[in-house]
């Protein structure tokens, strides 16, 4: 699941998110609900609770 979600996100990020002449904000892209934005405490907590690793993307 992590790979599939992250792969979708990766494709979304490597392709310009420009629609009808407007540049979308990161939070507006279709897969944004899958991400935690700028909230490390939430990321640590969720990773600890779920036992999953963290993928921290800097962009």
């Amino acid at each position: 699941m992590l790979i599939r979600v992250a792969a979708i996100l990766a494709v979304g990020m490597l392709v310009p998110t420009v629609v009808l002449g407007q540049v979308k904000k990161p939070q507006d892209i279709e897969v944004s609900p899958h991400w935690i934005y700028d909230d490390m405490p939430a990321a640590w907590a969720q990773a600890k609770q779920s036992g999953k690793p963290i993928l921290a993307l800097f962009r």
């Binding site: 992590l2 790979i3 992250a6 792969a7 990766a10 494709v11 990020m13 490597l14 990161p26 991400w35 935690i36 934005y37 700028d38 909230d39 490390m40 939430a42 990321a43 640590w44 990773a47 600890k48 999953k52 690793p53 963290i54 993928l55 921290a56 993307l57 800097f58 962009r59």
Partner: protein, 327 residues
């Protein structure tokens, strides 16, 4: 998670090439770093040449495999533990400008500016995260750890590496991607031996790679941090061959035109009389600094704050000596 602004970022955990436009760190909830993904090789035309979706997918698969083997493999990952940061967060760097959205490159340029102001700047602070190409390895971006090309007579060639080899570890450091090769190179001294484990034809092979000399030196001009750390408001442009000819400057000679001066940073230079359009032909007896990187790095390493820089300048066809303060 996505980190869009670096405000409050824990620099004791997140250490990577801050000049990148896109970078991923894989880690455990206990802050153990599994590895990194993301490499930038240069300016706009070279920004994405070393990354790809298939390569990123491979790095993620390796990260998940590392996670499945954790904590049994914890000892192997100690090399990724970030070094104790000089400043715990970007905001604590004294030269960091107050900003609601701190960019990653501002971490690097603020640190460089701080070190220069303290007269502590070293070449190792500037030449960071060398590309594997610097030791003769061109990695396949579709996999990140498979060798695509080996430079003739390079350290990699002398160590016996060949096209198709898959690099498994360097100095005991397991690798997820090329970014991890850069991590090892970044933390290696210029004169050293790297112990490399690779796979060829299904077999694991070990070799030793000797490194010496200037392999860490690289073009810094594409780095966003170079604007503040090196140029600090002055845009120097190498003179074109035609303009050199018109000015009776030898084709291979050093010549940088002061193209523009932005903001308050270059004010000391303006007051000292440096003008837009001036051509810098040398610094004292140094006329061999033929790239912008060599030129600016020489200035920053040789002249700490408060010193005067003796410039040889061409202005309106006349050669003059102009002493300017550091800026």
């Amino acid at each position: 998670m996505r980190i869009i602004k670096a405000n409050g970022l824990d620099l004791n955990v997140f250490q990577f090439d801050y000049d990148q436009t896109w970078c991923v760190v894989f880690l455990n909830a206990d802050r153990t770093i599994y590895g990194r993904y993301g490499t930038r090789a240069g300016g706009r035309n070279d920004a994405n040449t070393h990354i790809s979706v298939p390569g990123f997918k491979k790095a993620m698969e390796r990260a998940l495999a590392t996670h499945r083997g954790y904590p049994a493999n914890k000892e192997q990952l100690t090399g990724y533990t970030s070094l104790r940061a000089e400043f715990a967060t970007p905001e604590k760097i004294p030269t960091m400008r107050k900003n609601d959205c701190i960019h990653c490159h501002q971490i690097h340029d603020s640190l460089l500016r701080y070190k220069w102001e303290q007269n502590e700047l070293k070449a190792t602070d500037l030449f960071v995260y060398p590309l594997p190409e610097r030791i003769g390895l061109k990695m396949d971006p579709e996999d990140c750890l498979v060798v695509k090309r080996v430079g003739d007579d390079s350290p990699a060639a002398k160590a016996g590496l060949e096209i198709g080899d898959r690099i498994v570890s360097i100095n005991g450091q397991p690798l997820l991607s090329q970014a991890d090769i850069q991590w090892v190179l970044h933390h290696s001294p210029s004169n050293t031996r790297l112990e490399v484990v690779y796979e060829r034809g299904g077999r694991s092979v070990e070799t030793s790679m000797a490194l010496a000399g200037t392999w860490k030196l690289a073009d810094l001009s594409w780095r966003e941090s170079s604007w503040r750390a090196l140029r600090h408001g002055v845009r120097f442009v190498p003179l074109s061959p035609d303009k050199k000819k018109q000015s009776n400057i030898a084709p291979s000679a050093m010549a940088f035109e002061v193209k523009n001066m932005y903001g308050p940073g270059p004010e000391p230079l303006r007051r000292a009389g440096l003008k837009i359009g001036d051509v810098i032909l040398g610094i004292n007896d140094r006329t061999d600094l033929v790239t912008e990187t060599l030129f600016l790095v020489y200035i920053r390493l040789k002249y700490p704050p408060g010193e005067m820089i003796p410039l040889n300048v061409l202005r309106s066809g006349k050669r003059i000596q102009l002493d300017v303060p550091t800026w």
